[in-house]
Symmetry: C2
Subunit: 335 residues, 2 copies
């Protein structure tokens, strides 16, 4: 392979070459750690809302990137959401990741993943947060939400807290039951639908919220000592899964990126509600690096706010490119 | 070709399929016109400076995009500049354009052009500006600068003002002579190097500045009635080709995008120098659409400030994709 060859991979290539496994978790953790290092660059997300697009149904594009010292490449990710796609029999979400050389700036790969790598790195970040912040002993993992991330987050959490039982709550009991069945089939864990979210949260030592909600679905009073909550659903202004009182009730609040969570994450609503003030919070990478304190006692309540970072995209894309090269997968184009 | 096929094209494919011709000029003009329409979206450029990249020599990435109503797709362009590449025998500038469907948001094409399409659309914009604003009768075209854009801008200008003689000035007389020889060979026009820039500018009815200069290379006093100037070199804070007095001396100043020129174009230095005030200037698209007045007399001095827009990228990428499909060029990947 010459220095200028470019790897092209489809969603199918990537699904085959890059599973949700501990290697994906480790490279994601490396990204969070790298975010604390000098020389890192992670510009604000470029967002474009296209009211006229999608035959008038509207469309959105988000572009994320990050340069992480120590990685051979840096990624630029395009994510689109087009709301008229369902009527065409297509998924609403799509996108791709371009990998560029950190040495030359030249394109190394076009990963035509349609959002698969985002799903993967988002789940992997849940595992990183749980490993760092959840109590060592987790008997019950409660998932709020019944979509793809509910399934992937449960799988990822079980990788770092194996042996736990999984409870799944969603507004639609049938979807919750189907999600629990899928999790059980994929992991071998005991998994069942829960009907009362307060009880399911109170029973858990690890709670993961995975919805696109715009109003609280997890109430602070439900939280019991010795619980870690990862809220990964909010990634845009207006989204919110947690009662703003959760942040005040937690012994430790950890954003993936404080500046980003203040506008896109649970921190936004809490700041607006006045339950907390300021944006000077220990970030996940600082906790991982030991530069900030994490959980210090089993009975603490900890809370991690994941909005999704360009750093994760750079990490998972670098990992995917390495896997493709090892497997000789995808297309290689002399360019 | 199914709805989900993705076209992959290399620089070679694109050079073969998409020449600098009137079709490229027309689609670029369409982009400027579209910029005046409701529903257009062109977010600020995403820029990332990586001090540690390129083995410590530093690297930069700019990302541009625009959604233009009436175009089937929208483009996202990555441009990189890595300053240690010369030592590796590679060009400093690189990049690619992704084309996404305006109907579904799905990726339609990855154009691995290494900056070729940017060169093309930049030259095409010069032709659009000259056709709209230069006097009808142009006997002398003067080019300041001796690089690739000097050559391309001369070719583009001759497409809309044929029959003119070309003068090329640069700080290095040998490079100016080589550039003039290349222009003559490519176009059949009479082209020669000029030694005194003041005289070359005074002799011309169309002046195009094409340098990465950070200090004025064109002085206002050199301008004579009946001249149009296109300044296309400045595209970043700190770059400047025109004496700030040029903007005040001109009867008409036309930015490609006023908000962008105020930070990246000649307008920035003029605002800082106080020779003009405000950012409410008629944009090129408004002049083309007849929504703002252009040149109204042959003896006026007009000035067009081109910083480069995501709209041009969307236009040239759409044009390139159509050309690739007609020619069956590039690779088509089912994705």
């Amino acid at each position: 392979m010459s220095a200028h060859d470019i790897v092209i991979a489809t969603e199918g290539d990537l699904r085959a070459a890059v599973p949700l496994d501990m290697a994906a978790v480790e490279v994601t953790e490396r990204a969070f750690r790298a975010l604390t290092q000098p020389g890192v660059e992670m510009p604000p997300i470029l967002s474009m809302h296209m009211a006229d697009a999608g035959n008038g149904a509207g469309g959105e594009m988000d572009v994320k990137t990050a340069y992480l010292p120590g990685f051979d490449g840096f990624a630029l990710k395009i994510s689109t959401g087009f709301f008229g796609n369902a009527a065409l029999g297509l998924p609403s979400l799509s996108g791709m990741i371009t990998v560029l050389s950190a040495q030359t700036g030249r394109v190394q790969a076009a990963l035509l993943d349609n959002g698969y790598l985002t799903d993967l790195r988002t789940a992997a970040a849940g595992a990183v947060a749980a490993r760092a912040l959840a109590p060592n002993r987790v008997e019950v993992i409660t998932i709020l939400g019944t979509g793809l991330q509910a399934r992937l987050q449960a799988r990822a959490a079980l990788m770092v807290r194996p042996g736990a039982r999984v409870l799944v709550w969603g507004r639609n009991p049938n979807k919750a039951a189907a999600c629990a069945a899928d999790i059980a089939a994929a992991t071998g864990a005991r998994a069942e639908a829960a009907t009362i979210p307060a009880a399911a949260v109170a029973a858990a030592q690890l709670v993961i919220t995975t919805t696109p909600s715009r109003a609280p679905i997890l109430i602070a009073d439900w939280l019991t000592p010795g619980t870690h909550v990862t809220a990964m659903g909010s990634d845009a202004p207006g989204k919110q899964e947690l009662d703003p009182a959760c942040l005040a009730r937690a012994d430790l609040y950890v954003p993936d990126r404080a500046s980003q969570c203040a506008t896109l994450g649970e921190l936004r609503a809490a700041l607006e509600a006045g339950t907390v003030t300021g944006t000077d919070w220990p970030e996940l990478g600082q906790v991982l690096e030991g530069a900030a304190r994490g959980r210090t006692a089993p009975d603490q309540i900890t809370l991690c706010d994941l909005t999704g970072t360009g750093a994760q995209d750079t990490a998972i894309a670098s990992h995917a490119l390495a896997a493709l090269r090892i497997n000789g997968a995808g297309y290689t184009i002399p360019a």
